[in-house]
Amino acid sequence: MANLKELRGRINSVKSTRKITQAMKMVAAAKLRRAQSQAEAARPYAERMARMLASLGQAVAGNPDAPKLLVGTGADQVHLLVVVTADRGLAGPFNTNVGRHARAHIRKLEAAGKTVKVLTVGRKGATYLKREFASRMAGEITFQGKKRVGFEDANAIALRLTGMLEAGEFDVCTLIYNRFRSVILQIPTDQQLIPAELPEAAAVPAASGEAAGEAQAWYEYEPDEATILAQLLPKNLAIQIYRAILESAAGEHGARMNAMDNATRNAGDMINKLTLTYNRTRQANITRELIEIISGAEAL
């Protein structure tokens, strides 16, 4: 039978674990709210950008010297995967899900005879993928120690990608990240960045009650299509990355909140069970001692 002192120790240790998980849950909830509002604030820009790009892209598509960011290099050999994860763990299956998704993707591409390179954003993805695909790592970026990830950070990644594209280091670039569906649901998603996937002009939602015909309106361009497109495309790349980072951040906090909620509940169950055992043991000890005393007295 477990002795009482040991049991008391276990109960205390589980209690302090519960305190920690509860605190982490609170922190995650507060951070989630902030991350979510940041993600929402970024949405209008991304939407307007997509709309503008849709109308512009059609004007330039089919043009043989369209920018590389839009049409790619023409080849389909070297794939670059940008994998966005969190910097910290203890968020349930959040990081592993992206990692597993990325791994399946890499396997599939390699089975098709492509060359794969991986660029990770976030520490966890790097540690996960490095174990298996060390030779394919093209670099890693973390935002560790940073209070708030801003647009500049996403822009820096975009510039790096453009630089690599210009240097001919890859042909196709895909972004893998956790899309924030709800607090309890994050979906690992892949999105092709280069060549840019053009939203169909017709598929662009006719938001804010605008006339359907407006999307097809004939635009004048100043200075001209090519110049504007050359400026718009890198910005679009940056905004896509920014959005992915924000979504992933919101998802991370959601996942952590969830995981910590479960942990807190499990710790509570554990404490109840241990307390029950503790009390039973204590009672059994008392009963035994009483019997010993009584039988001792009777023997006299």
Binding site: A42, P44, F151, Y219, E220, E222, Q231
Partner: protein, 137 residues
Amino acid sequence: MATFDLELVSPEKLLLSRPVEMAIIPAAEGEMGVLPGMAPMIVALKGGVIRVQENGAITEKLFVMGGFAEITPTRVTVLADEATPLAELSRGDAQARVKQAEADYEAAAASATPEEREAAMDRLLAAREMEQAAEAA
């Protein structure tokens, strides 16, 4: 007076979304006043001040660091790389950015391709514009 919807968004937030009478925007090829019923256009912006007119008076002034504007007869959407209300600009900040941009330009002038040099020049001009706007405010 007739109005159109003006939307000003930066990557980090939606700054302005309401009907206005006129907006003056710093297009890449010169300032441009936009009134309701303009022909559809997409223009690139340079660093400068957006002025918004409502009820016959200028009510808002915001500094933008380059970007794009999409103009339709009933709506204008400005996608700014960065936008700050003029009142919130700080002169010290602006000066620091001018210095930074000057240094970048020096670096670019020595080695980079003509396009990069031009981009650095644009950034420098935008930063100078920002300094001026900060001083005026």
